[in-house]
Symmetry: C2
Subunit: 566 residues, 2 copies
């Protein structure tokens, strides 16, 4: 596996062997290593010294169910710190099949001539983006597939990334060629836009599966893992109801963000929940599909295709986080309205969590009434038009609060909170507060831990365990839900790695990789100027109780400061 460095100014590709100290890492861990080694932590995120890096996880390339994720990263334009955002789809597979350990976009063009970067076994070419500039991802992707052929993976940005908005992510094609798997968080789309790359098209035809050192051992472990995954009861729930199944659970715990994180239960929870969504989609038929996989070979199939009354696709997927932030958080209880908003925001290539939170802040500033989906849609149109108000919202919740004079903003390290109010689920609050990534549910969600979520004691330990595991899984390229499979057969993780790479690692490897990754990420953030003061929830969440639990966030600062003392 090699490192491919693309100089976006000179439009040249340099292929180098992977340095030894990078070889045992992949995905999130490798991103952190590269950032610490090569990117000055205090650099301006949208200028020449920052790098946009694509690194497939260590297990990527073999169509192992839910284990082909791509990690994308750089210095975050949103948080100013380390950033990794991972996604399903086919990008990870395609990059790995070209033998690329990490793809790095470096430097910055001096002009505004937008490019399509095409990668294949023959190397890299730059094609002018031409009329693709200014188009949304749903219009752009088919045009690219028409030009380059359907045997390509694509990572692309919408107008949000072109405008260098800090809520912009990078969309990736799913197995059905829809640009639906977004590396949403932290403004990486703005970083890609700063390099003037509209899309990266990766030829799937010329590559090859990565070699496997011990084929029989690999197959055996794969079978054991797949069987365990299929038998997991949680997986059945996600297959039936998608991540929207979570709505009922968070509403029950009183941590479903409602009307700008002012309440934790929503009277419309049932209408926007997984059961109603499934029934609606089954009744509507047509292109609707409540159970859809994003990566080839994934047996979980937690994704969905949300069809309208006519059965035609409104958006794919419609995820719990989107429902929480654009639904209950805005007081909107109509899945069709949420689906429409989600399509608009996704087409711009923006993060629905960040934009949803920003709209919640705008509502507090009086720009939007709770429940007014039409006005919410108008505000998203402002982003599309690039108006000053649109740029405010498109730069995320923290900036929106700063400009509009709202200090009751649900962010940590400048990144909006996903759809778990941390006052009612305090372990996740610890993760939000302390994760080097900023508020991020995928960095250590604690909702399935068998604890009292409102008790401040012990939450730091739960969060620590979750953060280490998730940093490990993100380094492997393994989906958060695949953990349900590995949990009962943890020995398959070292077996798969040893069989693939000819290594000799043991069952501690997941935690080892996780700790190494977190240490590297914290080192980068430290250099960027982060301190314990950044490892805190916003002060108002420690004072303002959230109904119905009437809890504030009261995990002690001592506990927060000890999360990474292992």
């Amino acid at each position: 596996m090699n490192i491919w460095r693309i100089n976006t100014r000179t439009q040249t590709l340099t292929i180098q062997p992977t340095p030894e100290s990078w070889q045992h890492l992949g995905g999130r861990g490798l991103l952190a290593r590269i950032l610490v080694d090569e990117v000055p932590a205090t650099c301006e995120p949208l200028r020449a010294k920052n790098k946009l890096i694509f690194a497939p996880g260590l297990m990527v390339g073999h169509r192992l169910s839910s284990c082909d994720r791509i990690s994308i990263g750089g210095k975050s334009p949103l948080t100013g710190g380390v950033k990794e955002s991972n996604a399903g789809g086919t990008t990870g597979l395609a990059i790995t099949h070209l033998g690329i350990k990490a793809l790095m976009l470096e430097d910055k063009p001096e002009n505004d001539e937008w490019q399509i970067l095409h990668l294949s076994a023959d190397g890299a070419t730059f094609d002018p983006a031409g009329e693709l500039f200014g188009r949304g991802v749903f219009e752009t992707a088919p045009l690219l597939l028409e030009k380059y052929g359907k045997k390509n993976a694509i990572a692309l940005i919408g107008q949000g990334g072109e405008m260098e908005l800090r809520a912009a992510g990078i969309q990736n094609l799913d197995k059905d060629l829809t640009p639906s798997r977004i590396a949403a968080r932290g403004g990486l789309g703005a970083l890609m836009g700063s390099k003037r790359i509209k899309a990266i098209v990766i030829d799937l035809s010329g590559g090859a599966k990565p070699p496997i050192a011990d084929q029989p051992a690999f197959r055996a472990a794969q079978n054991t893992y797949s069987k365990s995954l299929m038998e997991s009861p949680q997986i059945a729930t996600y297959r039936d109801f998608g991540t929207a199944a979570m709505t009922n659970m968070t509403n029950h715990f009183g941590c479903l963000p409602t009307r700008g994180f002012s309440e934790g239960q929503f009277e419309g929870a049932e209408r926007i929940g997984g059961v109603n969504m499934r029934e609606t989609l089954l009744a509507r038929g047509g292109e609707s599909n409540p159970s859809h996989s994003c990566m080839p070979g994934c047996t979980i199939q937690c994704s969905n295709v949300y069809g309208g009354e006519d059965g035609k696709t409104l958006v794919s997927p419609l995820e719990y986080e989107t429902i929480g932030l654009l639904g209950s958080n805005l007081g909107i209880d109509d899945l069709d309205v949420i689906a429409h908003l989600s399509w608009e925001i996704s087409d711009l290539g923006l993060d629905t969590i960040e934009v949803g939170a920003a709209l919640g802040v705008a509502a507090q500033a009086g720009l939007l009434d709770w429940g007014d989906g039409e006005r919410a849609s108008e505000l998203v149109s402002e982003i599309r038009a690039g108006t000053p108000l649109g740029r405010i919202l498109g730069n995320g919740a923290a900036t929106t609060g700063k400009v509009l004079g709202v200090e009751r903003v649900p962010v940590t390290k400048g990144q909006a909170m996903p759809a778990y109010d941390p006052r009612a689920i305090k372990g996740t609050g610890v993760t939000y507060a302390t994760s080097p990534q900023g508020a991020d549910h995928t960095c250590g969600l604690t909702i399935r831990a068998k604890i009292k979520h409102t008790d401040p004691e012990g939450q730091a330990d739960i969060s620590r365990g979750g953060q280490i595991s998730m940093a490990g899984y993100d380094t492997l390229g393994v989906c958060i839900f695949a953990g349900f499979g590995f949990a009962t057969v943890p020995e398959t993780i070292p077996t798969l790695l040893n069989a693939r790479y000819g290594w000799d690692v043991d069952e501690t490897i997941l935690q080892e990789l996780g700790r190494e990754t977190l240490n590297l990420e914290r080192e980068f953030n430290k250099r960027a100027g982060f301190t314990v003061a950044d490892d805190r929830l916003p002060e108002w969440m420690t004072r303002e109780p959230v109904a119905p639990t009437n809890e504030v966030f009261d995990v002690s600062e001592e506990d927060l400061d000890n999360v990474f003392n292992w």
Copy 2:
């Protein structure tokens, strides 16, 4: 001297004796002490836990020439760190004459009913602001004087503070009752707005001069100091040409910010300089006055009244910083245009440095052509109207850059640089980088040091000395220019303090107070999450040379990190 605590929620005044550990401090040093003692460093700056504090310097109250300044502070809404901004005028004198060591506005009302806070020897009263809300400072001040009488000092905010914009300052009346002396920097007007106080009116009639322990010694030292001040050659320059005299000097050194800090010399420098201003004002006559004092008893008279062609006041004062940021920085070479912009921005109660820098950023984003004063005025009107674009600009240069996607922004710690390009005057660059206040020329300007300003070596030592002295002077309530008087008779400083307070301090007192103040400020910032990464100029200034010196900022990080190792 007592501490007056005003609870803005309950509208009550509590008068307490000054705690012992606060007694030896005043002004900037006392603010830092109070912030460290009482304000949680990570609190939200516009909510209940922040405090707005007025503290006259230790020498205030005696009409010593240029020694009656008021320090205003709190946790900065702009930088998120410690903030002191001081001003001349009559506020310091009035507060001291009421026996107030520090006036503290605490808590926060739960409603939006704006108040006028009236202070007198009888205590404090709250009067509804009524129709004064929504008016600029130039309209508001006369109405307040009409209502309360002319024997009042006033500290007030314009619409900028009402809107809680982070470029908002607090205006103070000068000796001629014009609201012209603004504690401009760091967003303290927004903090006052968050407390819903439109103005503080302070009765001058009921108070008394503070007691003097040794009257003859005080008078003798006063005379020595006053004589030294009058004989200083620099003072004569300031009296004739005002601070605008600096234009020629900075242009000569190549550090006059021009067209968004892209050049250091301006072809229109002569047209906007001190000589041309003086000649224009003398020729125009009428209310024009090139030499005007802001505080009673000030013999420097560096201020001015800028009259238009008809001799009627366009604005007062027109200072060098304003000329640099709204003139050369925007490519505008017409003093009348600059005066008009300055009036508009000052009427809103905003910082001309911060707004000028924000307009320079907006120009880089294409919203304004260099030299287009009409368009600049339109953009200021957007602030007045409270539009989204206006709120962007009114929140300062850093936010403007963030929202508009411009990373070439001249700020440190989120505060805009005054009119000295730090690449061509590197000692001031060290001050910008390391001052706990953010970029601030009054915290240690090095332009008069007899050194090569472009040599990176030795600048940290020069800045250190300047920062310590200025923190000392700001603690005494002494104007930056009064230093020219004290410089040749430094023994008058301890003599005046000993005579006033019955102390027994020696000539090291200025530096002792300065170091104590800086230590306290750095302690607050550390708690707020600041690190050495915040003690840096923006990265682009280390890479992009500025003509005609073609210098970058290349003082070593080691030198920067050693500024406070004394």
